[in-house]
Subunit: 226 residues, 2 copies
């Protein structure tokens, strides 16, 4: 599977997710026609990510959002009841896409080497397809309320534990060299993180997500000796 193919799948699953977002927020969404809601939510979320990634969610005024999304202040407030709720909706939706895709694509890989490769590639592909949100999520995590912040932390630790599990499995099978599995998993995560945190740098250097993925895998091969 190439990145191009992967990207198509993610785009499709996004459509379903909007329907869930609407269902979960029936009370606050005063707009009834589903097609309208999907269209406008896409505009709104896109605008939020664009503005926030430039100057931060707190610094984004509702007037900014109104201008960028093309919807009036009044119209915006028919989709959510407060700026905080908007943030929460966005987080829930994007995390849902992200986690579901990862779960769905969980390696049918048979060997540990293949599992490790699948985990690295899938996560990088996801963060490539949804880079604005991954960046946003990392940068705004501390501005979320406690419930949402906890969800973000748990999600982060979960990813780490996925890598840790694969490494331990490989060590038990005698395929990976003995190393601190948790610390290794943590470092892997740091490497993958850089792909969406420093996107501008890699883009300028014309490094593709596939090249980056191969490189990190080489790193792991050398360290784990496989």
């Amino acid at each position: 599977m190439t990145y191009a193919e992967f990207n198509k799948i993610v785009t499709i699953s996004k459509k379903d997710i909007y329907q869930e977002t609407i269902a979960e927020n029936r009370e606050t969404m005063r707009v009834k026609k589903e097609k309208t809601v999907v269209k406008n939510l896409e505009k709104i979320f896109g605008a939020v990510l664009k503005i926030s990634n430039r100057k931060g969610f707190k610094a984004m005024s509702m007037r900014d959002l109104s201008r960028e999304s093309g919807l009036s202040m009044g119209a915006l407030y028919t989709y959510f009841s407060s700026k905080d709720e908007l943030l929460e909706m966005l987080q829930n939706q994007q995390r849902a896409i992200s986690e579901r895709t990862l779960r769905e694509r969980v390696a049918d890989a048979q060997t540990v080497q293949a599992k490790l490769k699948a985990a690295v590639f899938t996560h990088l592909y996801l963060s490539e397809a949804m880079q604005p949100w991954y960046y946003f999520s990392f940068m705004e995590a501390k501005n979320l309320n406690k419930v949402e912040r906890d969800k973000a932390v748990r999600s982060d630790l979960h990813l780490e534990s996925v890598f840790e599990g694969i490494i331990q499995l490989g060590q038990e099978e005698g395929i990976f060299r003995k190393r601190d599995s948790q610390l290794t998993a943590s470092i892997i995560q740091a490497m993958l993180q850089d792909w969406y945190l420093k996107r501008y740098k890699y883009a300028k250097r014309n490094i593709s997500v596939d090249q980056y993925a191969e490189f990190t895998l080489e790193f792991l091969k050398a360290f784990l000796g496989f």
Copy 2:
């Protein structure tokens, strides 16, 4: 040199730096007694980092800062003329400490292996000693004005080029295995970054900065084959 020893040196050089900060801002600082200025600037900067790292610089109100620093609104404005100028002052000062210390401690190391080790340890020690600022600087970079943002980016690329230079040297000498030197440097930076971005995680797991430094060095040894 242990981290404890290193930390003492940094603390001392901080004192000098305050005098420079004062000198550079003679016009806006209406307070004359140097001792008072140093004392209050320390309070102010400490409070800014504390509050901002919890909820972001933009979300920190001057009332928050007044409460946390113990200075009144009026008093605060005798040290800077706007919230933006406060940010700029803080960035200039902390970056100055950081860059100077790195430069001063630039490896007298003779071999490339030693140079690489020195660079890894020094940067980690620095980010450990000044963790609140390193975190702040990463998180608030996009909120700076263009001039300051450019300085931050340049500083980031400079660090990368230091690592790249060492790697190339080692390769020329035939001591390091052939790898993409720039991409390797970039990944090293990502690993070091994680130490201050995910500090809470490593603290909870009782991983010391020295352990972390040794671990990243092991990673590099495996990859570069030395």
